[in-house]
C-alpha cells in the first residue's frame, strides 16, 4: 500500500475515531479516579471485631475505656480511648490527653524500641539486649554500693504512691541511698496542712455537692485534681433558668476558670492566702462563722502564744488586705457574706497555675476558712477520704546511713527534687555518680528544667527508664524502654482534691513496642541481679505480682485488674476525726510546733531556726495558718514583672508530653504562627515597656530565658507576664517537637519556707524586645 499523505491522514482520522469509539478513554478516566482513592500513602485501616476494655489512666487517675479492634492481619490494636461511663471520677467524660494517648503509644518514631547505650563522647547510640542493659545498670549500682558510695545515686520517678515509685524507693533504700525524689504534687502540701491542723493527711473537696465555691488561685478547670470529676461538679453549678451553684475564682488572670466563674476576684498574684484570712476576719467581725471554731485549739490565746483570733485581729484587717491584694473591698465583703451564708460553701486550694504543689500556709489558711464556715465533714465541704486499703510491698527497710542530698536540716523531710538536684550539682553535702530517671521526663518537666539538664550532663552515669525518646532519654547513657500505660502493669492513687479515695490499676491491653517492659519489672530485675538485701527488699518477679500483693485487701486481683479501679463507695460525712494531740481542730498546730522544737533542739533557738528556714514573722505565727509574702515579690525591682504559667487541659503539667492532637487544638493565644510561644501581658504593662501586640520578646529570669510572641490581653493582670506551660519539647517527633518553648526553663524554683516543698508559682522576670 502506498503510504502517501492521504493514507496517513485517513489512518490518523480512523485511529482517532476508533479510540473514541472504544471504551479506552472512559476506562482510563475511571481507573485514574480509582487510583486517587487508593493512594499507597493514605492509610487504609483494617476492620475487625470491636471490644472495650476498662482501665485507668495514671495521668489523670480517671477511668477510661480502650476501644480495641481485632483485625485479621494487624491483630489487636486500640483505636480510641474514651471515658468510662461507669467510673465515678469519669462518668464517660475524658480529657484531651487521655483521648489522644494513642498518638504517643503507637508512634514508633518517638518510642524507645529497644535498650540503648550511648557513648557520651561520640554521641553514638548502640542497641543492646535487655540482659546487657540490666547488667550495665546493676553493675553500676553494685559497684557504687561496694565502694560505700551507694548514697551517691539519685533516682527520680513521677509518683511516690504508685507501685513503680514504691519499688524504686525500696530499691534505693535497700541499696543504701536516701535519695529518691518525685514530681512534687499538691497532694503532699495538702497532707502536711491536713496533718498539722486535723491530723488527717487525706482531705478532699466535695465540689459536686457544694453550691458556693471559692477557689484560691488554683486552676479549678485547667488541671486541678481529677479534671473530669471537677468538670462534672462544675456542670452541676450551671443550670436553667438559674445557676444552682456559684463559682468564685481568685487569681490574677482572666483564665478559663475565671472566665467561667460567676465572680472573678482579680487579686495580686500570691495574695490569695491573705484573702482567705481576711475572709475569716470578716466572718469573725460579722459574727457569721461556725461557732464551734471557738473551741478549736489555738483559736484563743494560749500561754506564750497568741491565738488565731488575735492574729486575725492584728494582721488581717479587711481594708489593709483588700488594698494589698488590689481588689475592691466591697467585692471582698460581698463574696465573704455570700460564702458565709451559702448553704453548702467550700473554699478550695490546690496547685498553682504554674503547676507547683502550693504553699503550705496558704493551704492552712484555706482549711481555716473552711473551718470558719463549718463545712468540715459536711456535704459540699471539706471531707476526709477513706485511706486507700493498700498493703506495703514488704517489711520496713532500715534508713540509709547517709543523710539525703537535701531536706535533712528541716523539721520534717519532704520530697524536693529541685533542692536535691541543686545540692548534687553543688556537691554539698556530696555529688552524685548515678542518676536514674524512671519516667516523669524530669529533664523537660523540671520543675527547673535547666537544672535537671545540667545535673544529667554532669552526672557520670545516667539511666532513663522511659517509654519515649524524650528529653531525659536524650541525655541518658542507658535508655531502657518502659511500657506505655496501655501496654503494661501499673497503678495510680487518688487524684488531688477528690472527696473519695480511688485506686486504679492498668494492665497490658495492647502491645505497640514488643521490647518494652514495665518500669517496675525493670527495677525488679535489677534488684534480682543486685541480690542480697536489695533482692530481699523486693521479693517479686514482676510488677503484676507486686500489684497483687499491694492490693490484697481490695479483693480478687484479677477482678480488680479487669475492672481497672477501686473507688471509695461513699463519701465520709459527719464530724471528722481529729488525730491531733489535742484531739480537736488545731489552729495552732502542736505537731508542727513540736517538730520545729525538736529540730531546733531547744525552744530558745526556735526563732533562729525559723529565720533560717525563711519563715517570716517567726514563732509568733509560724504554727498558725497565716500568710507569707511570696519570695518572688522580693525580686520585683526596676522593670521586673512576675511570671506565671497559663495551665490548660490542651497542654500538660509534667507527666506525659502534649500529644499531636493537643498541639493541633492550641489556640493562637498560646502557640502562634510558625510554632512561636505566645506570652500574655496587660496593655498597660506592655505600653510601659514600649512593647506592642505581636512583638517578639525575650522573657528572662535568673534561671533561663524564653523567646515568645507578645499577646496583649486585657484579661492579664498588670505587672505580670503569663506563659503557657507544657510546650517547647525538643523530642516527640515533628508533630510535637519545636512547638513553643519550655516554661520550666525559665521558672524560678524556691522552697516553701516551712514545708520545704519546691514552689515555682511566681518568678521575677524581665521582658524586653527580642532582637531579630
Amino acid at each position: 500500500m502506498d503510504w502517501d499523505r492521504r493514507t496517513f491522514v485517513k489512518f490518523a482520522v480512523g485511529a482517532v475515531i476508533g479510540v473514541h469509539a472504544s471504551p479506552l478513554i472512559p476506562k482510563l478516566m475511571d481507573d485514574s479516579t480509582i487510583w486517587t482513592q487508593n493512594w499507597s500513602w493514605v492509610p487504609n485501616p483494617e476492620g475487625g471485631g470491636v471490644a472495650y476494655a476498662r482501665t485507668v489512666s495514671p495521668q489523670t487517675g480517671t477511668g477510661v475505656l480502650a476501644k480495641i479492634v481485632n483485625s485479621r492481619v494487624a491483630g489487636e490494636r486500640a483505636i480510641r480511648v474514651e471515658g468510662d461511663p461507669d467510673h465515678p471520677l469519669s462518668q464517660g467524660g475524658v480529657v484531651p490527653a487521655d483521648a489522644s494517648a494513642l498518638q504517643l503509644l503507637y508512634n514508633e518514631e518517638i518510642r524507645v524500641t529497644s535498650p540503648m547505650l550511648r557513648n557520651r563522647k561520640t554521641g553514638e547510640v548502640m542497641r543492646i539486649t535487655w540482659s546487657e542493659a540490666l547488667d550495665q545498670l546493676a553493675g553500676n549500682l553494685s559497684e557504687l554500693a561496694k565502694s560505700g558510695k551507694a548514697h551517691q545515686s539519685l533516682a527520680l520517678a513521677p509518683d511516690p504512691s504508685d507501685v513503680t515509685g514504691r519499688i524504686l524507693s525500696r530499691l534505693m533504700h535497700s541499696l543504701g541511698s536516701p535519695n529518691t525524689a518525685y514530681t512534687p504534687t499538691p497532694r503532699e502540701t495538702m497532707a502536711l496542712a491536713g496533718v498539722f491542723m486535723m491530723g488527717q493527711p487525706f482531705l478532699g473537696f466535695d465540689l459536686a455537692n457544694a453550691n458556693y465555691v471559692v477557689s484560691f488561685g488554683t486552676p479549678l478547670l485547667e488541671g486541678f485534681g481529677a479534671p473530669v470529676a471537677v468538670r462534672q461538679a462544675y456542670a452541676k453549678w450551671r443550670g436553667y433558668p438559674k445557676n444552682p451553684g456559684t463559682l468564685v475564682q481568685i487569681e490574677p488572670r482572666a483564665s478559663v476558670t475565671a472566665g467561667q466563674a460567676d465572680e472573678w476576684l482579680p487579686c495580686k498574684a500570691g495574695s490569695e492566702g491573705a484573702l482567705a484570712l481576711a475572709m475569716c476576719r470578716i466572718m469573725l467581725e460579722e459574727g457569721i462563722y461556725d461557732k464551734s471554731i471557738e473551741s478549736a485549739y489555738g483559736f484563743d490565746d494560749m500561754k506564750g502564744f497568741a491565738g488565731f483570733k488575735s492574729m486575725l485581729m492584728k494582721d488581717y484587717d479587711r481594708n489593709k488586705i483588700a488594698k494589698m491584694a488590689g481588689i475592691p473591698l466591697a467585692k471582698l465583703i460581698k463574696i465573704t457574706l455570700a460564702f458565709a451564708k451559702a448553704e453548702r460553701a467550700v473554699a478550695v486550694c490546690g496547685p498553682g497555675n504554674s503547676g507547683d504543689p502550693g504553699r503550705m500556709y496558704d493551704f492552712m489558711a484555706v482549711l481555716a476558712l473552711n473551718a470558719f464556715k463549718g463545712n468540715l465533714g459536711k456535704p459540699g465541704g471539706v471531707l476526709t477520704q477513706q485511706p486507700l486499703p493498700l498493703k506495703a510491698l514488704a517489711g520496713d527497710i532500715a534508713d540509709p546511713q547517709q543523710p539525703p542530698l537535701a531536706g535533712g536540716e528541716r523539721p520534717f523531710n519532704v520530697n524536693n527534687v529541685n533542692a536535691m538536684a541543686k545540692a548534687a550539682l553543688a556537691k554539698k553535702p556530696y555529688g552524685i555518680k548515678t542518676l536514674i530517671l524512671c519516667g516523669g521526663n524530669f529533664v523537660f518537666n523540671g520543675p527547673q528544667a535547666n537544672v535537671m539538664h545540667e545535673l544529667a550532663r554532669k552526672t557520670p552515669f545516667v539511666v532513663a527508664i522511659t517509654p519515649y525518646l524524650d528529653e531525659s532519654a536524650a541525655v541518658a547513657d542507658l535508655v531502657l524502654p518502659s511500657t506505655h500505660w496501655l501496654e503494661g502493669w501499673g497503678d495510680s492513687t487518688t487524684p488531688y482534691g477528690s472527696p473519695v479515695s480511688s485506686y486504679g490499676v492498668h494492665r497490658p491491653l495492647v502491645k505497640a513496642v514488643p521490647q518494652a517492659r514495665d518500669a517496675g519489672d525493670i527495677l525488679l530485675a535489677v534488684a534480682q541481679r543486685l541480690g542480697g538485701k536489695v533482692a530481699e527488699a523486693l521479693p517479686f518477679k514482676s510488677t503484676e505480682e507486686a500489684l497483687a500483693k499491694r492490693s490484697e485487701d481490695l479483693g480478687d486481683f484479677e477482678e480488680l485488674a479487669e475492672a481497672g479501679s477501686w473507688v471509695q463507695k461513699k463519701a465520709i460525712y459527719g464530724p471528722p476525726k481529729f488525730n491531733t494531740p489535742s484531739g480537736k481542730l488545731e489552729l495552732f498546730s502542736m505537731i508542727l510546733h513540736d517538730l520545729c522544737v525538736k529540730q531546733a533542739g531547744s525552744a530558745d533557738v526556735l526563732e533562729n531556726m525559723l529565720a533560717y528556714l525563711g519563715v517570716e514573722g517567726g514563732a509568733k505565727t509560724a504554727f498558725l495558718p497565716h500568710w507569707q509574702k511570696p519570695a518572688a515579690w522580693g525580686d520585683l525591682k526596676g522593670n521586673k514583672l512576675l511570671m506565671q504559667a497559663v495551665p490548660s487541659l490542651r497542654t500538660t503539667w509534667g507527666g506525659d508530653a502534649i500529644t499531636p492532637y493537643m498541639v493541633k487544638i492550641l489556640p493562637d493565644t498560646m502557640l502562634a504562627e510558625q510554632d512561636k510561644l505566645v506570652v500574655e501581658m496587660n496593655p498597660i504593662t506592655a505600653k510601659a515597656l514600649h512593647l506592642n501586640d505581636g512583638d517578639l520578646v525575650q522573657v528572662e529570669s535568673e534561671e533561663g530565658s524564653l523567646t515568645a510572641k507578645l499577646s496583649v490581653y486585657a484579661g492579664a493582670a498588670p505587672g505580670m507576664v503569663f506563659v503557657p506551660v507544657g510546650l517547647g519539647h525538643e523530642a516527640f517527633g515533628f508533630q510535637v517537637a519545636g512547638k513553643g518553648m519550655n516554661f520550666n526553663n525559665a521558672a524560678g524554683v524556691t522552697s516553701d519556707p516551712m514545708s520545704g516543698m519546691p514552689i515555682w508559682e511566681l518568678t521575677g522576670v524581665t521582658v524586653k524586645k527580642a532582637r531579630g
Binding site: Q37, I79, A99, G259, I665, D675, N682, A714
Partner: protein
C-alpha cells in the same frame, strides 16, 4: 408534616458549661481519623472538624470575661426559620426545600442534605476539590486537605476502620459521626427497635467532661435537645443569614449571645436580658 422515617438530628452546646478543654475536638479527631500536619499553627490550613473558639468580652482588666464556642458543622437546612418560641426550629419536611449553603453549590454532589436525618453528608471520594463549598460556608466548618497527611511510622495502627482517612485535595467536615448512626441502625435492625436517644451520640457529646454538649432529635419532644432549644438562652450562630442551622447554643451571658449572633431578634434579646445575666 414529618414522615415516619424523617428525623432531625441536632445539637445544643451550653457555652456556660464549656470550659474550653478541647476534649470534644480531640475525641472527634480520633473518631474520624483526622491527621496532624507539620505546622498546625497555620489554622487556615489545619483541619479541625470541631473547633473550639475562645472569645472575650473585650473589656479591660479586671472586667474581662472569656467564653468558649465549640463549632462543629451546623448541618444547615436553609429555608424558613421558625419563631423564637419554637427555638427557631422549623424545618421544611420537603426535601426539595432544603437549601444548605454548601450542598447547593457542590458541582459533583459530593455533599448532600439527608432528608431522613437532616445531616449534611460529605463523600471525600466523590469530591473533586473545587472548594466552592468552603467558600459558601459562613461557619468555616469545611476544611480542604491542602496536604497529604504525614502519618508517623506506627500511628496508622490507631486509626479507626469505620472512617476512611482522606486523601489530599478533598474537602472534609463534621458528619455528626454518621458511621455511629449506621452502627446504631444496624444494631436496632437486628432487634427490631428504633434508634433511641442514647443509641446514637456523637463522639464529642460523649467525651465532653462537663456535659456541655447535648445531642438528639430536635423534632422529638422526648429528646433533651427538643426542650433545650426552647429556653430563653438558646440561640443559633448567625441567625439572620437564614442558614437554619441545627446546632444551638445556650448562654446566660448576654454578651456571649450578642457576640455570637448580634442578629438575635429584638424580642428575644430583650426577653433574655430580662431573665438576668450570668
Amino acid at each position: 408534616m414529618w414522615r415516619k422515617d424523617q428525623v432531625r438530628y441536632g445539637m445544643v452546646i451550653d457555652v456556660d458549661k464549656c470550659t474550653g478543654c478541647g476534649a470534644c475536638s480531640v475525641a472527634c479527631m480520633s473518631e474520624n481519623n483526622v491527621g496532624v500536619l507539620h505546622d498546625e499553627t497555620d489554622k487556615i490550613k489545619s483541619i479541625t472538624w470541631l473547633r473550639v473558639y475562645q472569645i472575650d468580652n473585650g473589656k479591660p482588666f479586671p472586667d474581662t470575661e472569656v467564653a468558649f464556642f465549640p463549632r462543629p458543622c451546623m448541618h444547615c437546612q436553609g429555608g424558613e426559620s421558625g419563631t423564637p418560641g419554637q427555638g427557631f426550629f422549623q424545618e421544611d419536611t420537603d426535601p426539595d426545600a432544603a437549601h444548605t449553603p454548601c450542598v447547593s453549590v457542590c458541582p459533583a454532589t459530593a455533599t448532600d442534605y439527608d432528608d431522613a436525618t437532616g445531616i449534611v453528608s460529605q463523600i471525600p471520594t466523590r469530591c473533586i476539590g473545587c472548594r466552592y463549598c468552603v467558600a459558601a460556608c459562613p461557619y468555616h466548618a469545611r476544611y480542604f486537605n491542602w496536604y497529604d497527611v504525614p502519618w508517623p511510622k506506627g500511628t496508622p495502627r490507631a486509626l479507626s476502620p469505620f472512617v476512611s482517612p482522606r486523601m489530599r485535595g478533598v474537602v472534609e467536615k463534621c458528619t455528626f459521626c454518621y458511621p455511629r448512626l449506621q452502627q446504631a441502625k444496624n444494631k436496632t435492625f437486628l432487634d427490631g427497635s428504633e434508634v433511641g436517644e442514647m443509641d446514637y451520640q456523637t463522639a464529642c457529646t460523649e467525651a465532653c467532661p462537663s456535659g456541655a454538649i447535648t445531642f438528639g432529635q430536635l423534632q422529638d419532644p422526648g429528646h433533651k435537645v427538643h426542650k433545650l432549644i426552647k429556653t430563653d438562652h438558646a440561640f443559633r450562630m448567625l441567625e439572620k443569614l437564614g442558614t437554619n442551622p441545627k446546632v444551638y447554643y445556650t448562654s446566660k451571658r448576654k454578651w456571649v449571645r450578642m457576640l455570637a449572633d448580634n442578629h438575635l431578634s429584638q424580642a428575644k434579646a430583650a426577653k433574655a436580658a430580662a431573665s438576668g445575666g450570668h
